[in-house]
């Protein structure tokens, strides 16, 4: 074996090793949660209220709360984020204001989630008097996820060849018509990728909902936007650290459901995305 081939093999081996190191924790986490949590899954666990100080019964209200939070926060953040990204990518000139906005977005992405929680508490809960409620929590989560949506949408728009815009303009289309008909259809799948990433974060974050919406325990399901709600990540925290004597598999079952919800929503978004891609 000559030197060049040996080097190639060593390089290949190192890359493969690095890849495996990335995959191992993912497999380990999923395996742990599935094996430990599978036993907890039942109709009762999924679709009934908690009983006996949450030591028995189900996690239905937490599931409902998390689904509400995901949909309401995205209903707010997706349109605003996509519109902002369209403005920044297709309309804004490269000037001081635009650079300042870009800087703000990058910094927003770097703010830790508990700070978003505090911000939501002071703005939505206290100042705007929404109280600790689904709307406060969803808006806080929405703001937290805006930079993700804006950044991925801009990347998706940037990936559309400039020549499409040029052709569209040369055919007498206005700027908005060009964005609407020549650019956006080609960016839908990238935009949905941003939405998928956001679903995972919104469903899984604990800190932003801590002060703004999450309830320790509620005897009833929320009936409106101004109600408090239970949510899976906070519920997981509560049953893991705050209440003694909870069966072990309840925790893993809750984690399993949380991952499952994110997975299901991702699958839905991926199906929409591939449909959008095929329509080209």
């Amino acid at each position: 074996m000559n030197r060049e081939t040996r080097r190639q093999k060593i390089g290949f081996g190192a890359l493969l090793l690095a890849t495996l190191l990335v995959v191992i924790p993912v497999i380990a986490i999923v395996a742990l949660i599935v094996t430990e949590g599978w036993g907890a899954l039942s109709w009762e666990f999924l679709f009934s209220m908690p009983r006996d100080g949450m030591r028995a019964g189900g996690i239905f209200p937490a599931i409902v709360g998390t689904v509400y939070l995901v949909f309401i926060s995205l209903a707010f953040a997706l349109p605003i984020g996509v519109m902002a990204a369209i403005y920044l990518s297709e309309y804004a000139k490269d000037n001081a204001l635009t650079r300042l906005i870009n800087l703000a977005i990058i910094n927003l992405a770097g703010v830790s989630s508990v700070v978003f929680g505090l911000f939501g508490l002071s703005l939505f809960v206290v100042f705007l008097k929404f109280g600790v409620s689904i709307i406060s929590g969803a808006l806080t989560l929405g703001i937290m996820t805006l930079p993700v949506i804006i950044t991925t949408t801009r990347e998706a728009l940037r990936a559309v060849p400039a020549s499409y815009r040029e052709v569209s303009f040369s055919l007498g289309a206005s700027r908005w018509q060009t964005v609407r008909h020549a650019v956006l259809p080609r960016a839908v799948s990238g935009i949905l990728t941003g939405a998928i990433l956001s679903v995972g974060r919104v469903a899984g974050e604990t800190a932003p909902i801590l002060f703004t919406v999450a309830a320790f325990y509620l005897p009833n399901l929320p009936t409106g936007l101004s109600d408090q709600a239970m949510a899976l990540p906070y519920h997981l925290y509560v049953i893991t650290t705050q209440i003694p004597g909870i069966p072990e598999h309840f925790r893993y079952g809750t984690a399993f459901v949380l991952i499952g919800i994110v997975l299901i929503m991702n699958v839905i978004a991926t199906v929409i995305r591939s449909k959008a891609a095929r329509k080209r």
């Binding site: 040369s170 007498g172 289309a173 259809p185």
Partner: protein
């Protein structure tokens, strides 16, 4: 310079284009006659593409471009008296690389008309056939109009782009090195369609291929470093150029 009785379609006066301080075109004066094919030849950086792109205000899309001077289309100032959108519907453009939008052949052709709010399916269908015929593409694609335009061969794509421009019924068509990526047979088809279109349109052709200019141009202009060195009937420019630099370029001594 202009034979008597010929109608002037586009009148260019002291047109200058600069990109961030670098001048690409210096105070150009030029009249383009109705129904001619004006070929523009010249080495790279001679300003010929800048000139072409100021005729349909595509230069404006480049934020660093500064255009001064006037361009009159049928006596109408294209910068002041008409919107860029309306202008581009009358002045079509064919790019060097054919870029079919990722749509069906049919939807590519109807893109311009649809943006101009033409919705009637019968009108659109008629436009599709008419435009494809004029671009010498109809017979090759008439049975697969719903196929993606991007699946066509390079030469077919360029003719699709020509048909797409024609669907807007422009008076003027600008060609920016339209055959630079095409094989000789596709090039011949594009040139054939140009000679046919000349009967009803005014064409301006920027080309790096002097032979192409000689084949299709009624008049030829030679650009060098942002200035027009010479313009005249194609025969004369290629047989008896009055400027030494034109001759040098045509015989390939520089460029």
């Amino acid at each position: 310079m202009i034979a008597a009785g010929k109608k002037i379609k586009i009148s260019v006066r002291s047109l200058s284009v600069a990109y961030g301080g670098v001048t690409a075109l210096h105070g150009l004066d030029l009249d383009i006659q109705a129904g001619e094919i004006l070929s523009i030849i010249g080495p790279s950086n001679s300003g010929k593409t800048s000139f072409l792109r100021s005729l349909n205000r595509m230069n404006e899309l480049n934020l660093h471009a500064r255009t001064t001077g006037t361009v009159l289309l049928d006596g109408v100032d294209i910068a002041k008296e008409i919107s860029a959108e309306a202008l581009r519907k009358r002045v079509g453009m064919i790019f060097a690389m054919p870029v079919p939008l990722p749509l069906s052949i049919r939807d590519n052709i109807t893109y311009g008309p649809r943006m101009a709010d033409i919705r009637d399916a019968n009108i659109l269908d008629a436009l599709v056939e008419e435009s494809l015929r004029a671009a010498y593409l109809w017979d090759e694609v008439k049975d697969r109009l719903d196929m993606s335009g991007q699946k066509l061969s390079g030469g077919q794509q360029q003719r699709l782009c020509i048909a797409r421009s024609l669907a807007l019924k422009p008076d003027v068509i600008l060609y920016d090195e339209p055959c630079s990526g095409l094989d000789p047979i596709s090039t011949a088809k594009v040139e054939e369609s140009m000679l046919e279109l000349r009967k009803s349109h005014t064409l301006v052709l920027v080309t790096n291929n002097t032979k192409q200019a000689a084949r299709v141009g009624t008049r030829t202009a030679f650009f060098l470093m942002g200035e027009m060195v010479e313009i005249g009937p194609t025969d004369r420019i290629f047989t008896a150029p009055s400027d030494k630099r034109t001759e040098d370029y045509i015989v390939g001594r520089f460029g």
